[in-house]
Every structure is written in structure tokens, then in C-alpha cells.
Symmetry: C2
Subunit: 214 residues, 2 copies
Amino acid sequence: MQIAIPLFDRFTALDAVGPYEVLSRLPGATVTFVGEAGGPVRTDTGALAITVDRTFDEVPEPDVVVVPGGPGTRAMLEPAPIHAWVAAAHASTQWTTSVCTGSLVLGAAGVLDGLEATTHWASMDLLASLGVTPVDDRRVVVQGKVVTAAGVSSGIDMALWLAAQIAGDDVAKAIQLGIEYDPQPPFDHGSVHKADPEIVAFLRQVVVDPAPAS
Amino acid sequence: MQIAIPLFDRFTALDAVGPYEVLSRLPGATVTFVGEAGGPVRTDTGALAITVDRTFDEVPEPDVVVVPGGPGTRAMLEPAPIHAWVAAAHASTQWTTSVCTGSLVLGAAGVLDGLEATTHWASMDLLASLGVTPVDDRRVVVQGKVVTAAGVSSGIDMALWLAAQIAGDDVAKAIQLGIEYDPQPPFDHGSVHKADPEIVAFLRQVVVDPAPAS
């Protein structure tokens, strides 16, 4: 099973690496980081670079696609090579998935036409502007073989769900134990439905990765 | 504030990228990936490479050190350049921290002498063999400025705790909301204290990243 994660300038690292860490532990699966050209690609902060090991042309028919998000997705609302690759790959994937604003890439590639999908909470309007029905109260949204996850860290939850679909519950549980994913955040402030309104408003205005540039 | 994350051959990606994703969002902080030599360093699976942007010599006095784990730590139980760098940096850090078997590096560097610490659940004996008192029932263990986290994904929880110590609760909460860290794993199987004994036994034998090579 070939799992492809496309990278692009100013992606968000955890969007990609959370699912990588889970899915690379699936027996018989190989994760490949793909992109327009080989070599290091920088994240949104500029402080981290992950190597693209194969070009889009070299991985035309992956079994699973996981598209990460990040501010770089806003430069790709117009047609871009990643959209053509995603659309072509989607024709034969077992699963086509996204994390965070990676769903904007799926949307621009036409994969979400007529479907519900989620994205980072601050980008719901942008997702709707692509003609997609945004879902803001589920962390993982499944529509047939198309699966979208909410912001950044939700890719870990999505990947564990996907691991169970692909290899069964016991394998997914073993992976969860392997990465000791027994979350104990010091605050219960990870959802816009739970967060202080002042902090939500602050993030909407000022921030940060997932806020639209416009 | 300079936050340094040392990389080495066969590290585990999420150990490093979880804390990076949290701590890089601290106002005024810069995260730098450091190593013996610049250039891409491969993870345990071989499928992912992160670029080392600065050598150990170029970052002698970081404010915060976060040492990731991975199978590569077992090649570093004998003296290695990373130990000298960690020990020297520790003299002036505000926080010296590790994720997963990164605590083996701290231990071999002498940072954990006389302290309690944690590590991946499957490597507790190895940590004890370094003369460290292992703690197997806390996800984050704080001993003054030395903070160790349990396996792989626990680095996200540790980093949010650390963000609160460094910049206050509201900043940490804003970061948690920014990365939408509202965990909803599909199974409750992330701790050795909750997991099926068969799966624990299987992972201890066969696996994988955090199991000792010996």
C-alpha cells in the first residue's frame, strides 16, 4: 500500500507528520512525501523543512492520499499542479484525505463537489466559498472514500480511524499504544466550541497559520 | 528565546514535530533544528527527512532544549557528540526536556543524575539501566527545569504545559486552539495501563521504534 503526502511551500508540519507517524506503522504500507520537485520544502514558520522524495509524476497512483494544510494552501486556490495530481490520483485511490486547510486543496481539485467536509475552524467560510458544505462540529468527516479532518492535530485521530479501516481495530490499537497516544492536554481549550470567546476572537484576527490571508 | 531540537539518525518524527508545532507559536520564540552536521536527517522509518539547519557548534546556548527519541537513541548510549552538546547547553538552559526515548540521551549526558524521569513505556528498564529512577504512571515528569515526557505523542502535552510556564496560560490556550488540539482518538488504547495485554506483549516483542534493540 502506497500512502502519498504532498508537500508545498508553507505547509503546517503537524498536519503531515501526525498522519505519517500513524500510517507509516501500518504493516505493508509505505509513506512517500511527494511534491512538484524533489528536495526540502519549508513549513509555515520557516523553521522546519521536510524533504520531498518523489515528484508528483513519479507517484501517479497512490492508494491513499493525505493532503496537509497550512497558509500555503491560500496560494493554491487558483489552478496549480497539486490539484491536477490530486484529481488524477483520486480516480484510483482507496482513500483521499486531508487535514486542516488541506481540504481547500481537495475542494479546488474538485474532489469535494457535492460533499460535506471539514477544515480548520477559522477557515470554514473559505471552504464554503469553494462550493463545499462545511461541517464545524465533527473532528473527522467521512464521505465514502473521502475523509477530511479538522485543524492540525486532528490528523492523528483521522489516521487512527483510517488505520482501523485499512488493517482492523487491533492494528490501529497497537499503533495507538506504540505512539503512546493517551492525550492529556493541560487545558480543555482545543475546540472553538469550548474556548474563551476572547481567545477565539484574538486568533481569528491576528493569527497565524490557518487564518485566511484575505 | 531560542528553542533547539537536536536531530540524529533514526529519530521518531512526531517526538520532534509535536513540540515544534506548539513551541514555534510562542511569541518571540524561534525553533532551530540542530545536529552534528547540516542537511537532511532520516527518521526511524526512513520515509521522512527533516533538515538540520544549524550544527551543534552554532547553537551552544539555547534557552530550551527538546530531545526527541527513536531507535537511534540506542546507538547513543555510548558517548556521542550529542551528549557533550546537551550537557554543555544544560548549564545555561531555562528548560531541558525530552520526549519518548530522548530521555536516554539526557540520561547518558548526565542530566538526569539523581532525578526521576519518564520515557516510552517499553524502554523503562533501559532508562533505569542508566541509573535514572523511571516513572511509568505520569505522562510528563517535572524535576526543576528538567522535564521528560512519555512516548511519542506525549510531546504535544508537554509542550503545551511548557508554553504555559513560559508565556502564561492564555498563550498556551491560544496555541491549543490554533492547532485544534481537542483529541478524540477512536480507541482508548494509548497507555500500557489501559491496553489489551496481548497487544502490549506483541509490541514488546516485535516492535518497533521504542523497543530496545537488545
